[in-house]
Subunit: 363 residues, 2 copies
């Protein structure tokens, strides 16, 4: 691990550590605003302070998870390193903690299943269909890659079907959290989590805002895979999988809400082609919310390591590019999905995701 | 007009003026990225540069509107003032130009009618229902206020039904644009407009990105109102309408995607109560996307004049507050709406808007 990477990890851990403090600040600003109102106005909102107190309690409960992730992350990733001095909070990093908490709801709560069924199930069903003739005990020889694995539920669910799966991830928010999840969680339903307390907008009821779930719905450590058929690789997708050792390695590459993270989609496609076996399948589901579109236009980016490159294609151009790149598209479908979306919010983000199965031509 | 206000106007006009330049920059960054690709990769995307050229042409066409607004705005609002020196572009202001262009599509294009039918029609229908016994020629005595009038289509459509309507607006992006629209537009379908070229994400086809409409679908100046029953007031809602002269002035106040612009919703409600006649109606439609939620937590705000206050209520608490404030709620309904949303985008923002009719109690 080089020094830059250590800095990113230390910054990531700092953000987890300061989650409680930053949320407390947000709540206290509201409390002070409320107390600065005229007494007659305060009387109109008699339950408002009590509501803030409840959010404060919820933050404390979320803190248990954030603090445990930070503790385990520090001992695993920065063991023996001296990063105890107070660091400043990196811009944009607290938002990533808040997203990570929502991702726990999506990937590892019982209620997140509705979202997972829209996004992960079509992919898993397609994989099972492709290999339906192979009994579950013989599936270890089938190698499947899940780039952008996030908190690991999609690769985990694929591994449960008997396949050998490797998740790949770049973000230390995801990597540290999933390391914690896969190695230190003692039981299912270990933590309470309030995933939707971080915005105060578009809630119908106070109860909706204070919606609580437990995680994980299943303890990944309690599931004994037949041998070791589940692994995670750390690093940027094209760097890891364009290596010679990865040539024609995978039977399936499954990308879910991933391809639009590409600064250069051409190298993503080339890497997929390179690491798939001839005749292997690329299964995709997701929108085209090109992650670097905004940054590529701003000289002063809010984050480090932003590539100075962004190529944003429309779906039709992308599909043509995929065909030009040595793939045959077997199947296409549009599937309405959500992504860490509060089901009770008055504002819904509906991603009309594109699902496809592309076969690497056997040249 | 004080000097601060003049500065805001000059900054607003500067943003309209520089629209073409900033978009050109965004396109040129893509062109340079593309040309820096390996020749073999460029060959995979033979139509990409042509696509960028078409976006560039579309920007030039959008520029005609932006430039005309700037020209008229300067002569009307800064006449004789010396603001010709080069100004820096205010942070966040270009985004407001892009939103204004989309608002023209929403409010003044034929295709925007689908959105207007969801948001404006329920309000207009309710007003007509309340005053169905009054013939159109006698409706001038009915005073209706539309706070947050934007580009003025809702107040305009209400005025077409014979009522006396005042729109109120605070943003000079909206004020200058609607001044231009209501006073200088010569004919309907005068301008072509490409409302969806400002993001390159989530487009299915190049054609979708380059969707073109004409504006306005109706020339407001061609409609002769029976007398002068349509006006616009400039200023912050509570400042203008909590004045004594406004007491019990309006028969109806119609708020559409407006109430969540409040830093302090209590003073919005008090102002509505103050300026409504006893027995008058407050008709509302919109979500609760509290505009100042984010700013209230950030010490360094990206914009000027951000209040240090934000009170974000859930819908149930807000409804209780309205009842406590001297209103009787007659009717409630949830209506799914969009707001300047590209109908062809792979990402849809669905606002589950709350519609209500609240009657000021006759005390």
């Amino acid at each position: 691990m080089d020094e830059d990477e250590e800095q990113v990890i230390a910054d990531t851990l700092e953000a987890f550590k300061r989650y409680g403090e930053i949320m407390e600040l947000k709540i206290n600003i509201r409390r002070n605003v409320f107390r600065s109102l005229k007494k007659e106005d305060q009387m109109q909102l008699v339950e408002f302070e009590e509501h803030l107190n409840k959010i404060e309690e919820a933050v404390k409960i979320n803190c248990k998870l954030a603090n445990d992730i930070e503790k385990i992350g520090r001992s695993q990733f920065l063991s023996g390193k001296k990063y105890k001095e107070s660091r400043s909070l990196k811009m944009g990093y607290m938002d990533k903690v808040l997203t990570t908490i929502k991702q726990f709801w999506r990937d590892w709560s019982k209620d997140g299943m509705a979202e997972r069924d829209k996004s992960y199930k079509p992919i898993i069903d397609e994989i099972e269909l492709k290999f339906m003739d192979i009994p579950i005990n013989d599936r270890k020889k089938i190698n499947i890659l899940v780039p952008g694995a996030g908190l690991g539920r999609l690769p985990f669910d694929i591994a449960l079907k008997g396949f050998s799966v490797q998740g790949n991830e770049f973000s230390y928010f995801m990597l540290i959290s999933s390391f914690f999840l896969f190695n230190y969680l003692e039981s299912s339903n270990k933590y309470f989590l309030f995933p939707f307390i971080h915005t105060f907008s578009n809630h119908r009821t106070n109860e909706d805002l204070l919606y609580k779930c437990t995680i994980p719905d299943i303890n990944p450590r309690s599931v004994i895979f037949s041998g070791s058929n589940f692994s995670t690789s750390i690093g940027e997708f094209t760097e890891v999988y364009s290596q010679r050792s990865m040539e024609s390695f995978f039977d399936v590459i499954a990308t879910c809400f991933f391809i639009d993270t590409a600064p250069n989609i051409i190298s993503y496609i080339k890497t997929i082609w390179h690491s798939l076996k001839p005749g292997g399948f690329w299964i995709n589901l997701g929108p085209l919310l090109w992650h670097y579109e905004k940054d590529a236009c701003e000289k002063e980016s809010s984050e480090d390591n932003i590539p100075a490159c962004s190529i944003e294609l429309t779906l039709e151009t992308l599909i043509q590019l995929i065909k030009n790149s040595g793939f045959e598209i077997d199947k296409r479908e549009t599937i309405n999905t959500t992504y860490v979306g509060n089901p009770c919010s008055m504002l819904k983000y509906i991603y009309e995701s594109e699902f496809w199965v592309a076969k690497k031509k056997d040249i």
